[in-house]
């Protein structure tokens, strides 16, 4: 008799759940069947009429029925919730191809980007990065670099003069001398900075531009070390496949001196318009520090040797980022800067 009633309740409940169309209805069913005044609770209440020996069995039966109904109710509820969430998400779909809200971040100047790349490479090799004055004494810009008065190199670099012994430095090489004069050895440094030459502004010239000077002084430094260091630098700056070529050249403050070409990073050395068909691009000047320069800065030129190099920052920026006109670097048009 109770069996049948339970069965009836179960059937009715499951049918109602199956027909329920929203979570509210499910809740109604839960209350009417499982609630305090619900049908199943009513059965439990009438257990006192059941024979004591039957009670455990009937109790078990009621609980089973309750568990089954609860399970189906929960399942159904989850289905509804999933459907609701689904609908909500569907309604919230957006057009991801609409424009972004850009973060108003500024842009570094290409000179700075190039400089930071150069700095990173040399810092990784243990170099210090130091500065030096832009308004310089003749001694540091020329004399201490083995360029005495009347040396033709003074004419080659059209110098801006101030007054007395002061001029605008024509090369960051002057920073070498300041570093050597500190008297701390060994030296491993690069010195970036602004230099000045009396050139009219055009696509490839500017009266003020930037160089990075490098100087290493220690015992047993060789020309082979210079080659190795700059070959490593070139690979890091222009790519692992970059090759280097050293050609004899002349600078008053180094001997032997060289100019370094790198294999064209556009065509890989096959020759293209970028490298004017030669496959090589001239990058920097370098050499072994002239003993006169060491001596003038109070360094024992018998014991210590060194190498130095100087690279034009704008030259690297123009080449690396394929900028075709140097004037762009000083106009500061935001449409130019934003590309870096």
């Amino acid at each position: 008799m109770i069996n049948e009633t339970l069965d009836e309740i179960r059937k009715k409940a499951l049918e109602a759940i199956g027909q329920a169309s929203d979570p509210d209805r499910l809740n109604d069913i839960r209350v009417s069947v499982l609630g305090k005044k619900g049908e199943l609770t009513g059965i439990l209440k009438s257990m006192k009429d059941v024979a004591p020996e039957d009670r455990p069995r009937i109790g078990q039966l009621v609980n089973d029925t309750r568990a089954e109904i609860e399970k189906v109710l929960d399942e159904q509820k989850q289905k509804f919730e999933a459907a609701i969430l689904d609908a909500k998400l569907k309604s919230e779909a957006i057009d991801v191809t609409l424009p972004s809200k850009p973060l108003p971040v500024g842009h570094k100047h290409p000179n700075t980007i190039a400089l930071e790349e150069v700095e990173r490479i040399f810092i990784g090799m243990g170099y210090e990065v130091v500065g030096g004055p832009e308004i310089e004494r003749d001694y540091y810009n020329f004399k201490a670099l083995n360029i005495p008065d009347d040396h033709p190199a003074r004419d080659e670099q059209d110098t801006f003069y101030i007054s007395g012994q002061f001029l605008l430095r024509t090369q960051t090489s002057s920073a070498q001398v300041h570093e050597m004069e500190k008297g701390k050895l060994p030296i491993k440094m690069i010195s970036p900075g602004r230099v000045f030459r009396a050139d009219e502004v055009d696509a490839t010239h500017s009266p003020s531009f930037h160089q990075v000077e490098g100087l290493v002084i220690d015992e047993n430094i060789t020309f082979a070390d210079l080659k190795g260091t700059l070959a490593e630098f070139s690979k890091k700056l222009f790519g692992e496949l970059t090759e280097t070529k050293f050609r004899p050249h002349h600078f008053p403050f180094t001997e032997p001196s060289a100019e370094m070409d790198v294999s064209c990073f556009k065509c890989g050395g096959k020759g293209c318009r970028f490298c004017k068909g030669s496959g090589w691009i001239e990058i920097l000047g370098c050499g072994m520090v002239h003993p006169n320069v060491l001596r003038m800065s109070g360094i024992d030129s018998k014991k210590y040797k060194g190498f130095a190099f100087g690279v034009g920052l704008e030259r690297i920026a123009l080449l690396k980022y394929e900028i075709d006109d140097m004037r762009l670097l000083y106009e500061n048009d935001i449409r130019f800067l934003e590309q870096f």
């Binding site: 170099y127 308004i135 033709p152 007395g164 060789t222 082979a224 500061n332």
Partner: protein, 823 residues
């Protein structure tokens, strides 16, 4: 320096490499090739022909029909040229061939101009007779060739065989190289110098010309005497005299070589001096001896204000540092620069005085600059020439006079040499130490190989282990110089590639650079892009920025030789660069542009600069204009605070109103503030910010509100820090109190906040303005302000009484500032 393959081969007879090989190999041993091109480029199927018959074209007045013998046959060619005659020997391009250019002398087309047989006004024409420009040559270098007509081979030069290679006959089967010579290699500003390098590069014999002179019995010193008065400026003066001069054209081989170096042939005598200058790198001069008074040469300084007419007809003003060549009565030439009109060679010359000398290089350079006359000769002399070369060159010139039959050479050289010493003694002692050389290069070159390399360059290692360099190698003074010689012929490419093996060093940015980098990064994060501006500018900038006449900023360092007034002073204030850049952007219609620059200003301790270096102060300058009006002064203030915070300086800085007398005239008077460290006793500014004065914005053409800020990086880096200190996250609850008040308009918020912070003490955690209102409902002269104060004790829960006590102190403070509370 230009050099043709054939001229180099004259001294390196075994030279047989290709043009490209010569170019590359010389570049790798230090004579850098700039360009090379073949002179016979695009000249195809060109033969020597002879005009046999000329007939008028029946249908064209300006055309003639020629029968031209080209050796194998006679062909018919129609031409418009006016200078032909029967028997003329001419270059003929056959049908299917090519010429290099048009007859109008324009730029040469890359692939030449093909020539095909065709009909001209109905008459068959089977080729073309060529003008010198069609052959790709510069007509200015061929005075003997009619520029309007066909090039006609001259009988005087020896006629080429009919039917033979026309390009060969023109001397165009050759290649022209252009080399960059470094300033230390004066000897390579000569064909012989480059040939010597080529011989050493390819390990081939170098065959120098050996001038053979016959000389007459007359003695040169009977014709001329030489006296050098200013021996400091003239170390060597050689003179030779040639008589019975016959002026005429020089031979074709000489003209062709001169042309290859871009020099126009004139006559045999002039050509000889030019030829020797190219060959030996020694400039020479020829005087008409009959114009030399007293047959005497005196080399001395000019007097200030002397005037002198050079052979180009220009009158020049001289001074006491200009060296002159004079005769017994007058000046006849500016030493090393240009001869005088009064002694120049004319076609009537009978006796010639040749001069080959060495002058003080720097003096020539400076004189040429002062006089404003730079010549090929002065360009060479200023590099400092080898005085032993002068004698060889003058002998070579005289040998050519004999060889060309243009005169007779008298016996001997008349010369004066300052501090005549033995050849060897005045050369520096250079030790030869192969171990040291290898140590510097990182190589293991044998002693023998080193000696062999040096020998190829005429550098000798003697039995005492010393290096003896030839006199023309004035650049060799020390062992490092010898090391370079060995390295470049051993091959830079063969030197190993290693890294320094010595002491490990820790690299890194200097402190100053690290602070600057941090500030740059932060400026970018804040939306500003980096500008680069010039360090020099126009003194007008001070007026543009409305600086008063006595402003300290006007005491700027001046460049003695600026590119122009607009670039004549070193900036003392960094704003002009950024404002100019903003203006550029505004004019180009770029919206809401934000820029910053990191660059020096230059402040003299005293002017003019004499002994003390100026201060170079790194400035971070920011500027933006906002057309949209979304941003204002407080935007810039936030940026400045973010920058200060990036180097841990926000807490010890304040942004305060400028004292009236320190206000910046280029900023809006009511919208500017000073940045300073709160604990610096002198309250010196470390920067400022504000809205640009509308008059200044107008001057720069920026028609939008513009805001700028300047921070002195030197001051910032002095105190900057990258240390961080964790203060814990509050565990105990906070108490919030809001105060709403009526504040006299002139009381700045900064003063109120300062007072609240002082009185709030340690437990005042934060203070925030949440309402600011002026206008209706607020009495005239007042503003309504509301702050939210948060109190917290880190160790315990704050009691009401404690907060009450602190609040009371604050409220007392407020009433002391005539501030009323609103309820």
């Amino acid at each position: 320096m230009n050099a043709s393959y054939s001229w180099l081969k004259a001294y390196v007879p075994d030279l047989s490499c290709s043009d490209q090989e010569l170019f590359d190999a010389l570049t790798l041993t230090g004579t850098k090739g700039e360009t090379w091109h073949r002179l016979d480029k695009n000249l195809e199927k060109i033969v020597v022909g002879q005009v046999k018959e000329i007939k008028q074209h029946p249908d064209a007045d300006k055309l003639v029909i020629c029968q031209v013998d080209i050796g194998t046959e006679t062909i018919q060619i129609v031409t418009g040229a006016q200078n032909l005659f029967e028997g003329a020997v001419v270059p003929v391009v056959l049908s299917g061939g090519k010429v290099a250019g048009g007859h109008d002398g324009g730029p040469l087309p890359e692939n030449g101009i093909p020539i095909k047989a065709g009909k001209l006004r109905g008459i068959e024409s089977n080729g073309m007779m060529c003008s010198i420009e069609e052959l790709g040559c510069d007509k200015d270098l061929y005075p003997e060739s009619n520029p309007e007509g066909i090039h006609i081979f001259s009988e005087q030069d020896g006629l080429p065989a009919i039917g033979s290679d026309g390009v060969e006959a023109l001397g165009l089967r050759d290649t022209l190289f252009e080399f960059e010579i470094t300033s230390n290699r004066v000897d390579c500003y000569s064909i012989l110098g480059i040939a010597r390098e080529a011989a050493a590069t390819f390990k081939l014999p170098f065959v120098k010309p050996k001038p053979q002179l016959h000389e007459t019995d007359e003695r040169a010193e009977d014709y001329i005497s030489v006296r050098v008065e200013d021996k400091d400026l003239c170390t060597c003066y050689c003179a030779r005299v040639c008589t019975d001069i016959k002026i005429g054209p020089s031979p074709k081989w000489m003209r062709d070589r001169l042309r290859s170096c871009g020099i126009r042939p004139i006559n045999n005598l002039v050509d000889i001096t030019n030829y020797v200058m190219l060959e030996y790198g020694q400039p020479m001069h020829a005087f008409d001896l009959d114009t030399v008074a007293g047959h005497q040469i005196i080399v001395r300084r000019a007097k200030d204000g002397d005037r002198f007419v050079t052979l180009d007809g220009e009158e020049r003003t001289l001074d006491h540092d200009v060296l002159m060549i004079c005769d017994a009565e007058k000046e006849i030439g500016i030493a090393g620069i240009m001869g005088g009109e009064n002694s120049m060679i004319t076609d009537q010359v009978k006796t010639v005085l040749f001069e080959a000398a060495t002058f003080n290089g720097p003096n020539i350079r400076k004189s040429a600059k002062r006089i404003g006359l730079r010549t090929d000769a002065s360009g060479l002399f200023e590099k400092g020439l080898d005085r032993y070369n002068a004698e060889q060159a003058i002998n070579r010139a005289c040998a050519l006079v004999e060889e060309l039959g243009c005169g007779r050479v008298t016996r001997g050289i008349v010369q004066e040499i300052a501090d005549r010493t033995d050849n060897w003694e005045d050369l520096p002692d250079i030790p030869f130490n192969p171990d040291e050389i290898n140590a510097l290069l990182g190589t293991t070159i044998s002693r023998e190989e080193m000696i062999d390399i040096l020998k190829r360059e005429e550098i000798i290692v003697n039995d005492f282990g010393e290096v003896i360099a030839p006199s023309f190698r004035q650049d060799l003074n020390e062992m490092c110089d010898i090391t370079e010689e060995i390295a470049r012929f051993y091959g830079y490419d063969k030197i190993p590639v290693t890294l320094p093996k010595n002491s490990a060093t820790t690299g890194g940015l200097s402190w100053r650079f690290r602070v600057e980098e941090t500030l740059r990064e932060r400026a970018c994060y804040a939306g500003f892009s980096q500008a680069f501006c010039y360090s020099f500018e126009s003194p007008r900038v001070f007026d543009m920025l409305r600086l008063p006449a006595d402003a300290k900023e006007r005491e700027a360092i001046r460049i003695a030789n600026p590119l122009g007034e607009d670039f004549s002073i070193m900036r003392t204030i960094p704003l002009n660069g950024i404002l100019t850049s903003l203006s550029t952007n505004f004019n180009r219609r770029n919206k809401d542009v934000h820029l910053f620059e990191m660059g020096n200003i230059y402040l003299a301790k005293s002017l003019p600069l004499t002994t003390e270096s100026p201060y170079e102060q790194m400035q971070l300058t920011l500027g933006f204009y906002s057309q949209s009006g979304d941003e204002d002064f407080y935007t810039m203030k936030g940026v400045v605070e973010a920058l200060l915070a990036s180097v841990s300086l926000l807490k010890c800085s304040e942004i305060a109103p400028f004292p009236e007398e320190e206000k910046k005239p280029f900023l809006h008077p009511g919208r500017q503030a000073v940045v300073k460290f709160t604990d610096w006793k002198d309250h010196r500014a470390i920067g400022y910010l504000g809205e640009l004065h509308p008059a200044v914005a107008e001057t720069y053409g920026i028609r939008a509100r513009t805001y700028v800020a300047v921070l002195d990086c030197d001051d910032l880096q002095y105190r900057a820090s990258f240390n961080h200190h964790y203060e814990g996250i509050a565990k105990f609850p906070a108490v919030t109190r809001d105060i709403s008040m009526l504040v006299p308009k002139e009381v700045p918020a900064g003063d109120i906040e300062k007072m609240i912070r002082q009185r709030g003490g340690k437990t005042l955690e934060s203070l925030q303005l949440f309402d600011l209102y002026e206008g209706e409902q607020i009495s005239e002269g007042f503003k309504s302000m509301a702050y939210s104060l948060v109190f917290r004790n880190k160790e315990k829960t704050l009691s009401d009484e404690e907060v009450q006590g602190t609040m009371k102190k604050i409220l007392n403070g407020l009433s002391g500032m005539k501030i009323e509370l609103r309820s």
